[in-house]
């Protein structure tokens, strides 16, 4: 066995990659380096859109993710909320996924400064988890308080002042969908944008972005904030660094490791093939 083959075999041990990954993520978390990041035009456009919203904007926020995805989505939703709260918004939170209520409570503790400024029932409300998927999404567009008689905490929605301003799809200035799946984006495009032309903003996992990119390109959404990186850029724009910005060094280190492994794997693969006189492509 040649030296190249031995190295290739060592590199193929997956446990080695995992150990190195743990080390590469731990180092910048324990000792942040503050590697500078640039702000993409896409995130800047979203920022400008929210900046140009009228005072007291009516916003619906769909919380559609699980605890695992919170690392990527929560910082983005938190940063947007911090930006929105300066405009005295009316916000209706809703979840079409069962983990939504846990995630909403987490969000409240992630940005307590935002919720301290908002009064429940008047400035914001959480409808809780609604079953029915796309059917529920369509029903919300027709009239929220008629469809959801009691909110997540069992309080009657009929008496809540917020629904005087934000009840039907036509009332809303923006719908923000924070999701770890693809389906819910499609539901809102079909049930809120196409019939009522309500502007949509996508907050998505990095892995989801290529799937929803066509909606943004076709103008069916005003833009999207993608993953931890997008959230970090938004945090920079609003001047309030959060957990996403803190994680950027770890992201860079981990990506560097994966790139190094891809390059090394390919180099040794070709060396071995050339040593064995295997001509590629034949």
């Amino acid at each position: 066995m040649s030296v190249a083959e031995k190295i290739y075999n060592i590199l193929s041990i997956r446990q080695l990659l995992y150990v190195l990954l743990i080390i590469m993520v731990l180092i910048p978390l324990l000792h942040p380096f503050g590697i500078p990041i640039s702000i993409s035009s896409r995130v800047r456009e979203v920022y400008k859109y929210i900046e140009n919203l009228p005072d007291n904007p009516k916003v619906l926020i769909e919380i559609y993710y699980e605890p695992a995805a919170a690392t990527e989505l929560e910082p983005a939703v938190g940063a947007i909320l911090r930006h929105l709260v300066a405009k005295n918004p009316k916000i209706v939170f809703v979840s079409l996924i069962a983990t939504g209520p846990i995630m909403f409570e987490r969000l409240k503790s992630y940005v307590p400064d935002v919720f301290e400024k908002l009064k429940y029932g008047e400035d914001y409300v959480y409808l809780g988890f609604l079953t029915g998927g796309e059917t529920a999404c369509a029903s919300l567009a027709r009239g929220i308080k008629e469809y959801v008689v009691r909110d997540n905490y069992g309080r009657p929605t009929a008496d809540m002042p917020i629904f005087k301003y934000a009840n039907k799809a036509e009332d809303f200035d923006l719908v923000i969908i924070a999701s770890s799946g693809t389906d819910v984006f499609e539901w809102y495009v079909r049930q809120w944008f196409t019939p009522y032309h309500v502007p949509l903003l996508f907050v998505a996992l990095s892995v989801i972005a290529p799937s929803i990119e066509p909606f943004v390109a076709a103008g069916q959404a005003i833009g999207m904030i993608v993953g931890q990186r997008g959230a970090a850029e938004y945090e920079l724009l609003i001047g309030k660094p959060g957990s996403a910005l803190a994680a950027m060094d770890a992201q860079s280190f981990a990506h560097g490791l994966v790139i190094a492994f891809i390059i090394l794997g390919n180099v040794f693969y070709w060396i071995i093939r050339l040593q064995r006189k295997e001509i590629p492509g034949r």
Binding site: V149, R190, T194, G227, V258
Partner: protein, 256 residues
């Protein structure tokens, strides 16, 4: 901030379960199995409870508080789903699914052609020359070529030049376009893979940040030691099994 005892216990459990689930990356072990089953059980129970709560708030509450008797109809259709446990009357479950499928399909189909076909096609009709912006010009040309090439690659019923694929001019154009389509798809898959790595790393950073938090650190260390013991035990068990297996097979060979 001092957490209540119950919350501290919850943080410890979360830390231990996180470490034990990640231990699968090194070797399948008993603590991983325990965590996996615990997670599935809790998730199923939680979803069931929240489902009942949602039905109560959006289905039963309007009947009780508002006297909206119309809500009884969908509740009956929902209950019909349980018909599949009634043996010879299992067919009544079909009425429930018929209702759900019918409503869902009609809601989706109502706007799907505009949202998913017309808008997307319109968005792909791009100007091939953008004055004063060479980058956008190249981007648009590439996009149009990749869309045409990608679509052509999946057209299996018609190949220019016939079944023998004669090297005619039209076949050469077809070949070039499909190649562009393939390369476009490869670039797309590459981007998808890169973004998958990004998401998984972000998840990992989130969990590691949690595990290193002062409330969870003690539990993390204890759970890691336990996971290491479980992994070593799993390796020794595997080795013992393989030794016993090889001894059995050599014994069988000698007998024969």
């Amino acid at each position: 901030m001092v957490l209540p005892y119950w919350d501290v216990f919850g943080v410890w459990i979360a830390a231990a379960i996180t470490v034990w689930l990640y231990s699968f990356a090194f070797k399948d072990n008993v603590l991983y199995k325990f965590s996996e089953h615990l997670f599935l059980g809790v998730a199923a129970g939680y979803s069931f409870t929240l489902g009942l709560d949602a039905i109560s708030r959006t289905g039963i509450a309007p009947i009780v508080t508002e006297g909206e008797l119309g809500y009884i109809v969908p509740i009956i259709f929902g209950l019909l789903f349980f018909g599949k446990y009634l043996g010879r009357y299992a067919w009544i479950a079909r009425y429930g699914s018929m209702f759900v499928l019918g409503v869902g399909l009609s809601l989706a189909v109502r706007t799907a052609p505009e949202a998913f076909i017309l808008k997307q096609v319109a968005a792909s009709i791009l100007p091939l020359y953008v004055p004063g912006d060479p980058v956008m010009t190249i981007t648009h040309i590439l996009m149009v070529l990749i869309i045409i090439g990608g679509l052509l690659y999946f057209v299996f019923t018609f190949v220019p030049g016939g079944g023998e694929r004669r090297p005619t001019a039209s076949y050469r154009v077809y070949e070039v376009l499909t190649r562009i389509g393939i390369y476009g798809m490869m670039v797309g898959f590459g981007a998808l893979f890169a973004r998958t790595v990004m998401t998984r790393v972000a998840f990992f950073i989130g969990r590691l940040t949690f595990l290193m938090s002062p409330e969870a650190l003690g539990a993390t260390i204890v759970a890691t030691i336990l996971a290491a013991i479980a992994i070593v035990y799993s390796y020794t068990q595997e080795r013992r099994r393989s030794t016993a297996g090889s001894a059995q097979s050599s014994g069988a060979a000698q007998t024969s």
